[in-house]
Amino acid sequence: MKRFCPLSVILLMGLTLVLVSSRHSQHYIVGEKAEDFSLKDTEGKMVTMADYKDAKGFIIVFTCNHCPYAQLYEKRIADLHRKFAPLGMPVIAINPNDPDIVPDDSYTAMQKRAKDKKYPYAYLFDEKQLVYPKFGATRTPHVFVLDKDRIVRYIGAIDDNPETPEAVKKRYVDDAATAVLRGQKPAPDFTRAVGCTIKKK
C-alpha cells in the first residue's frame, strides 16, 4: 500500500495552517507595544505618534461620524483630550470605516464634522483599513490607552453609561490614563461595550 494520496496531504497541510494561524492572536493585547502609524488628519496632514515629541502616552479612540454611540461620546472624547493633552497624553481619534459602506464616514464628512464640532484633537482616517486590525478594534468607539513607550495599557470602553453621562459610575479611560501617567497599571485594563461594528468590505 504505497499509494500516495495528494488530496489527504493537501487537506492535512490546510488543517495545520488553519490551526497555526488561529493560535496566534493577530492584534495587540494589553502589555504589547503598538506600532506607529501614519494617517491623514482632517487638515490633510499626515500624523504619526512620533510627531508628539514629549508625549507621556496616547488615548487612541477608534470612532466615526455616523454611529450613535460615537456621537454620544463625542463631547466626552473632547473632554478627555482637554484634560489629558496638557498632561502629555493627547487623544488621537481614528475613523476606521469604509465610506463605500457608510457614506457619512467619508473623509470630507470627517472634515466637516471636525470643523462643525470643533474637535480639539486629531481626527485621522484609516483609509486603507490597515491600522484598526492591528489594534484589534471591532467597534466604534473603542479606546486604547498607550503609555510613553507605546505599550497598550488599557483596551475598552470610555465609561459605563453611554446614554446618560450624569449617571456614569466608572470612568474607565479617565482612570486608566491617570494610572498610566502615575506609572501604575490600570484596573480594569479591559472592558466591553456595545458599539457599532467597524464597516469593512
Partner: protein
C-alpha cells in the same frame, strides 16, 4: 435543510402539519400589534430565558441605528416563520437607548413590522452584562445567542444568509424526535 422539520412533523402527525402551516401563515398578520418587553437588567432577560424551559431560543441583539442589524432582520423573520410552528422561539432584543423607545424603536417597528417577540435591553453597564451573554463577546452588534436549556451557542457577528443561520441553530433544535424502535 429548510424542509427538514416539515418532513419530521409529517411523520409525526399530518393533521398537526396542516395546522402548523395554517399557523405559520397567520403569524405575520398579527405583526402590527407589536409589544416591546423592556428589560432593565440582564437579570430580567435571564429570567425570561429560564421561563422558556425546554424551548430553543434564538436571541438576536440588534438596534435600529445598526445598519447590518437591520439588514439581517428579514432572516430572523424567516426563521420565526419557518421554525416557530415547531417550538423554536425567536426573540429580537433591541439595544436602542432607553430614551429612544418612543422616538425610534416604536416608529421603526411600525414601518418594519416584525413577527418575533421584541424586547429592549436598557442595562447601561455593558461591561457587566456583555460577559454574561458570552465571555468572548466584545459588544459589537449584531450578535446572536442560541439557548436550549443548558446548551448555549453564540455568533458574534451577522449571518451571510438564512442558510448560515440555519446551520448555526441546527445543533440546538430538537424538533424531530426519533420514533421509538419496536
Amino acid at each position: 435543510m429548510a424542509f427538514f422539520p416539515y418532513l419530521c412533523l409529517m411523520r409525526l402527525n399530518p393533521r398537526l402539519f396542516l395546522l402548523s402551516l395554517l399557523f405559520s401563515w397567520s403569524v405575520p398578520q398579527m405583526a402590527h400589534s407589536q409589544e416591546i418587553i423592556v428589560y432593565d437588567s440582564i437579570g430580567q432577560l435571564e429570567a425570561r430565558i429560564r421561563q422558556a424551559g425546554d424551548t430553543t431560543l434564538v436571541i438576536n441583539f440588534w438596534a435600529t441605528w445598526c445598519g447590518p442589524c437591520v439588514e439581517e432582520l428579514p432572516i430572523f423573520e424567516e426563521l420565526h416563520r419557518r421554525y416557530s410552528p415547531f417550538g423554536l422561539k425567536v426573540i429580537l432584543i433591541s439595544l436602542d437607548f432607553k430614551s429612544q423607545k418612543a422616538k425610534r424603536l416604536i416608529p421603526f417597528l411600525q414601518t418594519h413590522p416584525l413577527s418575533p417577540e421584541i424586547g429592549q435591553l436598557v442595562d447601561p453597564d455593558a461591561d457587566s452584562w456583555i460577559p454574561r451573554v458570552d465571555s468572548l463577546w466584545d459588544g459589537a452588534i449584531p450578535a446572536t445567542w442560541v439557548i436550549q436549556k443548558d446548551k448555549r451557542g453564540f455568533h458574534p457577528t451577522y449571518f451571510k444568509d438564512f442558510q448560515e443561520l440555519e446551520m448555526f441553530i441546527q445543533p440546538f433544535i430538537r424538533i424531530c424526535p426519533r420514533p421509538a424502535r419496536r
